[in-house]
């Protein structure tokens, strides 16, 4: 019960507290304490020091053991910088949104933890729908026309998508007709244990619905549009939260159904679907990187690319799967860094258009350099973690039964790298023709420190390659029956 209260109840209570207390300072204090407790406990669970006892419908398994610390890590740093972010001047219309910020963020933590820890398909569904509900009002933070449209589209598309996932869950019940699972509860572990007995036709149908439905939330093409709009118009901390943790929560749902399908005859079918979705995502990112003129949209497409890569790892299996799990860890950290720095640039230039941002390296030297380093980190330049995880994924693809995919993936990623670089270098180096250069010293803020810590973290984890992380990822691979 203790773990349950830290992971889910406490954030919920804090959300209530933040809703009624109108002053931002106590809201921030309470949220930080909750984030810290959450991070501490999830790390203890991850390290295997503490064994969590959770009530019915919740449990800790190998995948939630890895994904929960990812969530609490992203969440902690985002909350840490949120206060300084909220103190920035914004339009008077947006002022009223501030007082709900921490309440919603805490509610998001509760819902997301519940989704990650759920051991029952119904519970997972309820919790992941709740994450949508908590994030949607936050997208509308700036109270602008664009953010309103983005919120509407995200809320609507994801709700319809999640409804599809629910149909998939019902079809899963149908696939259990005539087996020992008939009339039983929809616990993951029971379905995994008796997977081979399930009716293959309904199982396939169930997989299609769950995969397509959750794709709206993961941002897998062709269902990515709502997600792109939302991440590019949400305030930067929220965009970081969405890219770093919310997409992974939805991905976990796909992983669960994939785990059930793994030992059955429908495995090949599910694999092909995931691979098609993943390659399409990379393709979409590849195409839109040529014409994107909004740097936050660019980062959103980068998220589509990386989630596509993670899905590809899941689909290909074997070593690529291990690489994908590492990639999930590194990508979540790198995305927080990128979005925080993009938020600083937006704060100064008051525009998300690439055209409006010129010689950022002179005007905002600290942000500019960190943004550049973060770009190198996300593009898989050593010594940052993404380099190592991408190498693992590539190696996995090369030695799988579909080595030709590697050619496609590398081609797409090369052009994504070049085009992203072109945009970022224009923003950083190109001189503005209109106004004279004013070089002023940028103040060193908390978010710069956080970004440096995170960049060091992503390097240290990759270079030292902790035994415990390796063991946890191997446990997941073993649970999924991946042959290495």
């Amino acid at each position: 019960m203790f773990e349950f209260s830290i992971f889910i109840l406490l954030p919920l209570v804090t959300a209530g507290f933040c809703y009624f207390i109108k002053d931002l300072r106590p809201q921030y204090g309470a949220s930080i304490i909750v984030a810290l407790l959450h991070l501490g406990l999830s790390l203890l669970v991850f390290l295997g020091i503490h064994h969590a006892q959770l009530p019915t419908f919740f449990s800790v398994d190998s995948s939630s053991k890895l994904f929960l610390p990812i969530l609490s890590n992203v969440y902690f740093w985002v909350v840490l910088v949120s206060y300084s972010y909220l103190r920035r001047p914004i339009t008077p219309k947006a002022e009223e949104g501030k007082k709900y910020y921490f309440a919603l963020v805490n509610f998001y933590l509760a819902a997301n933890s519940a989704a990650m820890l759920s051991s029952h398909f119904g519970m997972y569904w309820v919790a992941s729908e709740a994450t949508t509900l908590s994030v949607a009002p936050l997208i509308y933070f700036y109270r602008s026309e664009e953010s309103l449209e983005a919120m509407w589209k995200y809320l609507f598309l994801v709700s319809v998508g999640i409804a599809f996932a629910f149909i998939g869950i019902l079809l899963l019940t149908l696939s259990a007709k005539g087996t020992v699972l008939e009339g039983q509860q929809l616990f993951f572990r029971d379905f995994i244990r008796n997977a081979t007995k399930l009716n293959p036709i309904w199982l396939k149908a169930s997989f299609i619905f769950i995969f397509v439905g959750l794709s709206t939330k993961i941002g897998i093409a062709p269902m990515h549009s709502g997600d792109i709009d939302a991440t590019s118009n949400a305030p930067s901390p929220i965009a970081a939260l969405m890219s770093g943790s919310l997409r992974l929560t939805a991905f976990l749902g796909v992983m669960r159904i994939f785990q059930i399908i793994h030992p059955t005859s429908s495995y090949e079918f599910a694999r092909t679907l995931i691979i098609i979705g993943a390659i399409l995502s990379l393709f979409v990112a590849f195409v839109f990187m040529f014409k994107v003129n909004n740097y936050k949209r660019m980062l959103a497409y980068s998220s589509v690319e990386h989630l596509g890569l993670i899905s590809l790892g899941l689909g290909v299996g074997g070593l690529a799967f291990v690489g994908a799990m590492y990639h999930a860890v590194y990508n979540s950290i790198a995305k927080v860094v990128l979005f925080m720095m993009a938020g600083n640039i937006h704060g100064h230039y008051k525009s998300r258009e690439v055209e409006k941002v010129r010689s950022a390296l002179n005007i905002l030297p600290k942000t500019g350099w960190l943004f550049l380093i973060a770009y190198l980190a996300i593009s898989g330049i050593p010594p940052f973690g993404i380099f190592f995880s991408e190498i693992k994924i590539f190696e996995g693809i090369l030695f799988s039964d579909r080595p030709y995919l590697l050619g496609l993936v590398m081609f797409f990623m090369l052009f994504i790298f070049i085009n992203m670089g072109k945009i970022i270098f224009t923003m950083l180096y190109q001189k503005s023709e209109l106004e004279p250069q004013t070089i002023n010293e940028e103040k060193f803020e908390l978010n710069h420190l956080v970004v440096i810590i995170l960049l060091v973290m992503v390097t240290i984890i990759a270079v030292s390659s902790p035994e415990i992380l390796y063991r946890n990822i191997m446990n997941i691979a073993k649970d999924y029956g991946m042959s290495l």
Binding site: G122, V126, E145, L148, S159, L174, K177, N233
Partner: protein, 210 residues
């Protein structure tokens, strides 16, 4: 009894595909809510239990009272015009709906040979899901999109009873709460949209593009 209710449910779908008034959509949502609650209450005719009545009662409260009332309030507040403004004329829409339903019913009766399922509730539920999506695709007004989404949700509910999935009550209540909050947020968003864009049609939403 289930079959009779499912057929009534299908009739409501036909009505919704020919009507051109926004209010009629809300009425249909109410009727569907009543049908679903009655469907859930059938087992209690034989065996009454206080505990089991919570779910049908909540369903009745949320789907028949709260959500339609809220949508009506939004319609009144925003002074939304009565006509739905379709992009496909009703006389074309109805045959499409009928054709879809015929295909779904035929397909489910074929499927029922290999798996044991109640064909009529199963097919009615699935039809409602598809028609909900049709409505979302072929209407301009955003409030009608919300209604289409709710028709889809009702379809999923009927579909769930057909495949005899017994989710625990806590989770069923959770789903109902989620749906209610979704509609609530959509209503707030609609309010904002009508004041920001001076309209509530999907054609107003075209700012975000690449």
């Amino acid at each position: 009894m289930e079959n009779v209710l499912s057929i009534l449910f299908c009739l409501s779908l036909f009505y919704v595909s020919v009507t051109s008034r926004v209010k009629a959509y809300v009425t249909v949502l109410r009727v569907q809510g009543i049908i679903l609650s009655v469907l859930l209450m059938i087992p209690f005719i034989y065996k009454f239990s206080i505990f089991g009545i919570i779910l049908p009662a909540t369903l009745l409260l949320v789907k028949v009272y709260l959500i339609p009332r809220y949508i009506n309030k939004v319609i009144l507040d925003l002074d939304i015009k009565r006509r739905i403004e379709p992009t496909i004329q009703q006389m074309v829409f109805l045959p499409i709906v009928i054709a879809t339903m015929v295909i779904i019913f035929l397909a489910s009766s074929i499927l029922s040979k290999s798996t044991e399922l109640d064909v009529i509730p199963f097919a009615s539920g699935f039809s409602a899901i598809v028609i909900g999506i049709y409505i979302i695709m072929s209407r301009k007004k955003l409030i009608v999109h919300v209604c289409g989404f709710l028709i889809m949700e009702n379809g999923i509910f009927l579909f769930g009873t057909a495949v005899a999935s017994e989710l625990p009550m806590m989770i069923e209540l959770g789903t109902l709460l989620d749906i209610f909050v979704v509609v609530f947020l959509m209503g707030i968003a609609l309010n904002k949209i009508s004041s920001t864009f001076e309209g509530f049609e999907v054609t107003h939403l075209g700012r975000l593009k690449d």
